[in-house]
Symmetry: C2
Subunit: 183 residues, 2 copies
Amino acid sequence: MGTRNPGQRAGLTRGAVLAAANELLAERGLAALTMRAVATRLDVAPNALYSHVANKTALLDEVLDERLALVTEPDPDGDPAAGLHAVMTSTRAVLLDRPDLVPLYLARQGARGPHAQRLGEVMLGLMDRAGVTGGDAREALRVLIVYTIGFAALGTGGPLAADETARSFDRGLRWLLTGIIPG
Amino acid sequence: MGTRNPGQRAGLTRGAVLAAANELLAERGLAALTMRAVATRLDVAPNALYSHVANKTALLDEVLDERLALVTEPDPDGDPAAGLHAVMTSTRAVLLDRPDLVPLYLARQGARGPHAQRLGEVMLGLMDRAGVTGGDAREALRVLIVYTIGFAALGTGGPLAADETARSFDRGLRWLLTGIIPG
DNA sequence: ACCTGAACACCGTTCAAGT
DNA sequence: ACCTGAACACCGTTCAAGT
């Protein structure tokens, strides 16, 4: 840490900062994800991070969107209801790996960012093929996203077993999909 | 503030601490709700609060449960589906008044506390009268709660108008209730 | 039992330097 | 442009006193 003088570079990149943040999150949870801890892990002074990210909020935003890259995209030409079911199930699984993050998704009202946007478009495409369009499609999209994020939030640590929760999720999801795409 | 000496009482109560916390939340939002700010508002030293609440988490827990006292309870002898619809709609309205809190409900996995428990029991009673019992009822309860909290979280500040969001919520809620109580 | 003073171990962020 | 040192304005919480 004290090994470098002012003016000497540490070879930091935006990607390295993001990677360090993700590692910290995985190893020690959200509470441990502080700017100072990220800096320590990268062996730089805390304020060095501000050359690569605007602030902590921006860093978190990117961490959040990056996770959505892990969601398995459905076949856009397959059965719409099955595709929607698959995306939401995959999304829940991805979120379940980092339950700490879920309240942040909700605080930010569902995540901006390229990955979130792409998933939304895929889902709208599936609905379109099922005859659900316009405002109806946007409503249904919102319902599905809220339901899935909400369930991921309550999906861990509760009194119910993991497989029981998975069944509850699946059940409610089918109720919703039946409402969205009747028949 | 510096007007009292060690040993002199300020007449603080647990209720006063809670009230100050709620006022701060209403006037300046969750970020402004710090132990030090609560203490300042009560004109005491920060650590004086610890004679009345265990820590900040315990204080927040009570603030969260207290809000649920505002939820209108349904007629336990009325139509079950209508009753469930009414509780969830009322809950959403109550949460919508303090959107800052919603991520906290989710982070805590849906709120412990007496008011939360009472509402759960009322809902289970309604389902029982509709023939939904045991594990099925617990599943349905969980689905409804998650859906409602999740929607409250995304219910404000988004790109959609308030009435449009209210309609989306209502629509999804009816889909779920149709699944829970068929016919 | 309830409160103050002082302190501890933290935060995120900014500003002025150095190369 | 990228980094350090130092500092600012905060946090929650604890501990030793006072009455």
